[in-house]
Amino acid sequence: MRRFSIIVVVAFLLSLFCSGTLLAQDTLKLSIPLPLTGTQAKFGEMEKRSYEIAAEEINAKGGIKGKKVVLDFEDSQGKPEISRSIAEKLIDVKKQPVIFGDYSSSCSKAIAAVADERKVPYLVVTGAADDITQQNYKYVFRMNPPNALYAIGLISFLKEVVKPKTIVILYESSDFGTSGAKDMAMHAEKMGMKVLVYEKYEKGAVDFKPILSKVKAAKPDVIYMVSYVMDAALLMRQIKELRIDSKLFAGGAAGFALPEFVVNAKDASEYVVTATLWSPQVKYKGAKEYADKYKKLFKDYPSYHGAEAYSALYIIKDVLERAKSLNPEDIRVAMKATKMETAFGP
């Protein structure tokens, strides 16, 4: 009797498996690792919605190679070790031929290592640290510009308008913050600016006043900060409290570019410039439509993270359609040849 029940269970599982593969004939299931809980969940949610908008649009137009796209989200909690195991699962168990997504640089880095080892192409969507794509990985591609570009954009503004002599750089102790700050310091020194304070902080800190009073004593012309949204708001509030009067406060993307920043920092958000990659006003094809759609659905404008996610799915669609087959090697070749204009830009 017992053996019989085991056989039944196995048969049942087999039939499930078969029907699963049968279904896969007309749908294309893509799993995306994203931080849906944890401290970065805000960004994960925005990207998830954006992927869903893109998937809906693609399905309305007939899907990818006639297959309907079904998205599935895996929660990476913003932790690299979980991202890593998700990537392993997607490659080994689900046999997904291409991986894309996740939010932070650290997580993207973890996935990149797995993907390259298993020879499956990986498209980095929002991870901005420079070194993700600088490790001679053959199977890792990125769609967003690396961190260095944030710094370059701001530097040219500084050079022409403010002409500062001294700068203070504060950054959060993550991959994203560290690499952004390093780039900025390099460019600033090239320009002849003196870096007075170069300091990192722990994300989620409550009190920045100790570090800021040190900054105040240094009297810099410019304060450059690489932070996520709430840290950015706290920093600006406390800068105002301490009456630090620099000529310019500059933010490197991420936190300073989100719409919430202005709400949370209140009047402290004046005199802040920020480098960002995208805003709903850009002129790329489809950008405005996407922003309007997002606004209509969720009553909120997306930041560049959402736009990147939205565009990522279109890139995947384009790549998969051009690839000769759905095996990883062909996809890699196709991805390498990618050149397209999306809502996010060329």
């Binding site: 401290t39 990192k200 009190d207 100790p210 009073s213 706290l234 709400v263």
Partner: protein, 308 residues
Amino acid sequence: MSVQIEVFLQTLIAGLLLGGLYALIGLGMTIIMGVMKIINLAHGELMMVAMYIAYWVFVLFHIDPYLSVFISMPLLFFLGVGLQKFLINPVLKVESILPENQVILTVGIGMVLSNLATIFFTSDYRSTPVDYATKAWYLTDYWKAAPFELSLSFSWTVSFLFAVIITVLLWFFLTKTDMGKSIRATAQDLDAALLMGVNVKKMRVITFGIGASLVGAAGSLFIPIYYLYPALGGQFTLIAFVITILGGLGSTVGAIIGGLILGVFEAMTATYLGMGWAPVGRFLIFVAALIFLPGGVASLLRRKRFGK
């Protein structure tokens, strides 16, 4: 030179203000620790719940976060009482291989709370945009000839004062009232208290409620100066844990001193070593306290008293 003094004093002020708030978080945990002999690892999550209460009260009824202390404290008291009565007490009765399975239960409670918050309130960052967020007092405004400039943030100072008042009230409650004395008796010796006719079970329930309402007050005081998201609890559980160890398990005075030490130490490391070192400093203190001062600050106080 005066610049150096200014940086030092400003750091000290920041450290003390932060330390006062830390002490309030630590107090709740230490009281629960004293009576229950368990570490409440859902402490930070309880604070998160209180912060959401303060946030919604502010958004829906436009009640100032500081006034919401009087709303979040009783609510958290009942939440704490409920948790103790219906979740922790039944587990206490069960014989098990692990002696500390109530601790594991609190971890579970914490997880449930933070995930419920994610489901109900989404994972958005929230803060209460109060008008006085950037208001501060400046030394040079009152004393024109001051050699250096010091600033005292309005919201931080008010939070600190509230923390002091609540602490003093707690001290009165514990030393002067009948119920407070019963709680302390239960903490000192459970069996003796039981023999003296103290309703130990009731005291446990009330103690958990008080601990929760203390951290609830801390949540209301934190929201004007900080921000809020569902996963915020862990960070503060950790801080409370360090303070409880540093202060000596179960000692209220120790928790206050421990909180202040931690606040000042964190501020000093941030200024003189770099802010990235703050968590390292926190654990350095933690380990040092365990090795060199296993009884915490409380054991120092006791030693002094016996010496006299």
